[in-house]
């Protein structure tokens, strides 16, 4: 189709943000409906794009550009989707839609809230579809900054300022280091272009790649939550308001991992080969250590925050296998975990809004007053544990298969993460959702509204759908992974 669907999806959010800034701040309901309409449009378009992708042809589709942007340097506006980033575009559409639904109750300056959220969304979309290095950084930074305001202003009072500053600084340090690496690549290639597809043919020397790969990969992997630069994430997750946490864990961390793949692995495969063992080690620590820390948390949201760190470790394990199965699994895990963690945070938000506490010992019996919420959380929990029948299993399995092909002992150690995850998930489910309702909550916990229901059903439904019918996503991701694998020298 000639319709520039990708650019439209990317720019609707920021366009809406501008419109919102023009609306008077006290017309709160109007603001909310405008935001919802925009989010829904993005969601529908992303679904449309997803199902219109022609898998037989493969490669980059819906390509726009390259349109010269800064001709003197060879910077252009160039977008396109393939099997790896199209699911992520869809994921962003899903999360922005459900995020707006869940945020219906934000009452303090909703105009600014939704405007910043949409600026964030544009940044995220922009990065995923970028095929030009400058453009990628351009949108990357647009995606990171609004987090600061969103967390600092609307977040949890106890830690929001600290968490927001820590998060923003960490993420920027990572991205600027990656920037230096990217610039080095552009100038070493001497092709007068920033276009990533062109740079794939650049033929960097092995020594060059080995030196610069860590700059780029680890710079972006900071946003992916790699150990030991992951500890911005739990604080950030917990301090953020619900929709922002959904975005943060569900989409933003995937941004980092994806950029690490796109700019690091795909452009410097030799470098990736050399550094893969280190990535394997660090990611394994993510998986196991993240799960262990999650297990001992008292605050419900911190459990989920650390569980995100653990699951992103799996994504990076998948990358580090550098083989087709592992890469496919990583791509699937990015999508599955994204939806799952959005679901988790939505649930946490609903519980917290009503119970005003997140301490696990103080909660109980939620399933009696919010049954759908409980079921949604259980679905998410099962995905998190990698229970077959759900998307988590579908995603984790190829990662492990990839690990077996590369470094079997890692597979065995990482599997421990699954067991630990199962135990803390079941613990939360039984403590928070079942059992008796504590006296202080009786009669005070209201039911959720219809928007919340739509969001929960959509998110949970997707997780089950993929678990039962993986063909709806696996072949697409595999074709994208194939492209990466080809760059790594695989046939």
């Amino acid at each position: 189709m000639n319709f520039p669907i990708l650019s439209v999806i990317s720019f609707i959010p920021i366009g809406t943000a501008l419109i919102l800034f023009l609306l008077p701040g006290d017309r709160k309901n109007l603001i909310r409906w405008v935001a919802l309409a925009a989010a829904f449009t993005c969601f529908t378009l992303s679904v449309l794009a997803y199902f219109s992708y022609d898998q037989d042809v493969g490669g980059y589709q819906f390509e726009e550009g390259p349109f010269p942007w800064v001709g003197a340097l060879g910077i252009s506006y160039h977008v396109g989707v393939d099997g790896m980033n199209l699911p992520l575009v869809l994921l962003t559409g899903i999360v922005i839609f459900t995020g707006v639904l869940i945020s219906w109750g934000v009452d303090d300056r909703p105009r600014e809230f939704f405007a910043f959220l949409f600026i964030l969304a544009t940044g995220v979309f922009g990065v995923f579809i970028s095929l030009d290095l400058f453009q990628l950084f351009f949108f990357y930074e647009i995606a990171v900054f609004p987090m600061y305001l969103l967390i600092a202003i609307w977040g949890w009072k106890a830690t929001r300022e600290y968490a927001a500053m820590k998060l923003t600084l960490y993420l920027f340090i990572g991205s600027v280091i990656a920037l230096v690496g990217a610039l080095a690549m552009v100038f070493a290639a001497d092709m007068q272009t920033f276009d990533m597809i062109a740079l794939q043919e650049a033929g960097f020397s092995t020594a060059f790649q080995r030196f610069w790969f860590p700059f780029v990969f680890f710079g972006f992997a900071v946003l992916g939550g790699i150990f030991p630069v992951h500890n911005w994430s739990p604080d950030g997750h917990v301090a953020a308001p619900t929709a922002v946490s959904m975005f943060h864990a569900g989409v933003l961390m995937k941004l980092g991992a994806f950029a690490a793949l796109r700019v690091g692995i795909m452009l410097m495969p030799e470098g990736a080969r050399m550094w893969a063992p280190l990535i394997l080690v660090l990611a394994t620590v993510n998986v196991v250590y993240g799960a262990l820390i999650a297990m001992v948390q008292r605050d419900f949201k911190y459990v989920i925050g650390f569980s995100s760190v653990s699951h992103m470790g799996l994504v990076m394990l998948g990358f580090a296998t550098l083989n087709l199965r592992g890469l496919t699994g990583a791509g699937l895990q990015m999508f599955s975990h994204g939806v799952m963690t959005a679901l988790f945070f939505a649930v946490v938000g609903m519980v917290y809004d009503r119970a005003h506490t997140r301490e696990i010992p103080k909660l109980g019996g939620i399933s009696r007053v919010m049954p759908l919420v409980a079921v949604a959380f259980i679905v998410g929990g099962l995905v998190s544990m990698g229970m077959p029948g759900f998307s988590g299993f579908i995603a984790e399995f190829p990662i492990f298969m990839g690990l077996w092909q590369r470094e079997p002992i890692v597979a065995i150690i990482a599997a421990l993460g699954i067991v630990i995850t199962a135990s803390y998930i079941m613990r939360i489910i039984s403590r928070v959702f079942f059992g008796k309702i504590p006296v202080e909550f009786e009669g005070k916990i209201s039911s959720i509204n219809n928007f919340d229901r739509i969001a929960l059903v959509l998110l949970a439904g997707i997780l089950i759908l993929i678990g039962v019918y993986p063909s709806i996503i696996a072949p697409l991701v595999e074709s994208g992974a194939n492209a990466v694998w080809a760059l790594l020298g695989g046939a």
């Binding site: 701040g25 340097l73 600061y148 610039l183």
Partner: protein, 486 residues
Amino acid sequence: MAFASFESAHIIIVLPEILLLGLAGLILLLDCFWRERHRRILGWVSAGGLLLTIILAILLSRPEIDGDPILIFGGMLRHDWLGFTFKLIFLFAAAVTSMLSLDMEDLAKRGEYFALMLVAAFGMCLMAAASDLIILLLAIETTSIPLYILAGFMKADDKSTEAGIKYFLFGALTSAVMLYGFSLLFGFSGETNVYRLAAMVRVGDFSPWILLGTALLVLVGFGFKVSVVPFHFWSPDVYEGAPTPITAFISTASKAAGFALLLRVMLTTFPTIEAYWTTIFAVLAAATMTIGNLLAIPQKNIKRLLAYSSIAHAGYALIGLVALSSFGAASIVFYLLGYVITNLAAFAIVIVFSQSAGTEQIADYAGLSRRSPGLALALMVALLSLAGMPPLVGFVAKFYVFAAAVQSGWIWLAIVGVLNAIIGLYYYMTILKVVYLYRSDDEQVSVDISRPAAVALVVCSMLIIGIGTISGPWLDLVVEAAKVLF
């Protein structure tokens, strides 16, 4: 390049300068006649005149595209894209400063104020085009002396007086050292024309250490203008004490003028000892960025914070010089372009706020986002541009500068630069935090924004976003400008 003899066509080339002087005279004249009634008119006349000058300059005084630069007036001035670009920057800064000064009673009703500013602008235009040591010195002094006076303009205010004196003393001292350096250069070559001097120096086979020493002497003067470490000590006090529109002018136009000098003189006169002075500059740039950023963190007064931030920005721009490439020079010019617009916007907001709320303390900005969402948004745009966030011009500017560094192999400097950008982000975000997060008791009191200030802010904000997003044509312009240096 051709050493054209005096031709009447050259008058057109210096039309902007002539208009500036004419405008200054006009204002002094009007000031005599109009007295109290039409005070604000002076400012509008100044701004309008400057705008007219810009338009005429673009229409009539442009250099040829891809043409050779020419030396005019017996080799005193050089007419090329570099000079022209800087000229436009200075005129723009002066126009905005005029508009911002309209609301400050003490300044706007004095005709001398605008006249001095226009003379300073005139001096800067000469600085950008100067190609002879003598005219260089004259231009520097023509710029500086009005600025000394303007800094101390508010005689009743102790801080302002202190600022003026301090500025004067520092400036005079550094000028003297620089003049000594110029005299040595003359001694080596027997020439005052910068280009002929450069040729003689090359041929003359001087010891690199002597040349380096001379370069350092000259650097003292330039460094002062640009406020690079260790010649930056005057900045915070002068910026804080001077009337804010003048602070805006000094921090933007004057600094840009200093860079114009640096570019021309260093790259033309001292190419033989490039290896030495680039290393020195690299160290200076790193030190400037770091010290500027670190010292900005504990500041409680926004003008002082912006002063230290300006010092840091000089450091970023200097990286482009170290890169020693055409692209590097282009990136400096672009950086200055973006920086000037952004800093003007930032100071505009400071002016508006201090007029309305009477304070320059950062803590008093609390709740601004509720009092005046538009002003808060403008502040966010300006600060984020200073921090280097897309889609604002500051991001692109930093990107180009760091790209130039990486391209020339100065990896460590690029890394220091990017890390410093983070430090900068920290304190800019802290201000935004105060504005957006903190509450205050007088949230219902809205902030008065006068029309000229609003116009200035809107124009600057649009440019910040516009140049940041569509930076291609602007980069082409500065690349053209930089070409003349290599």
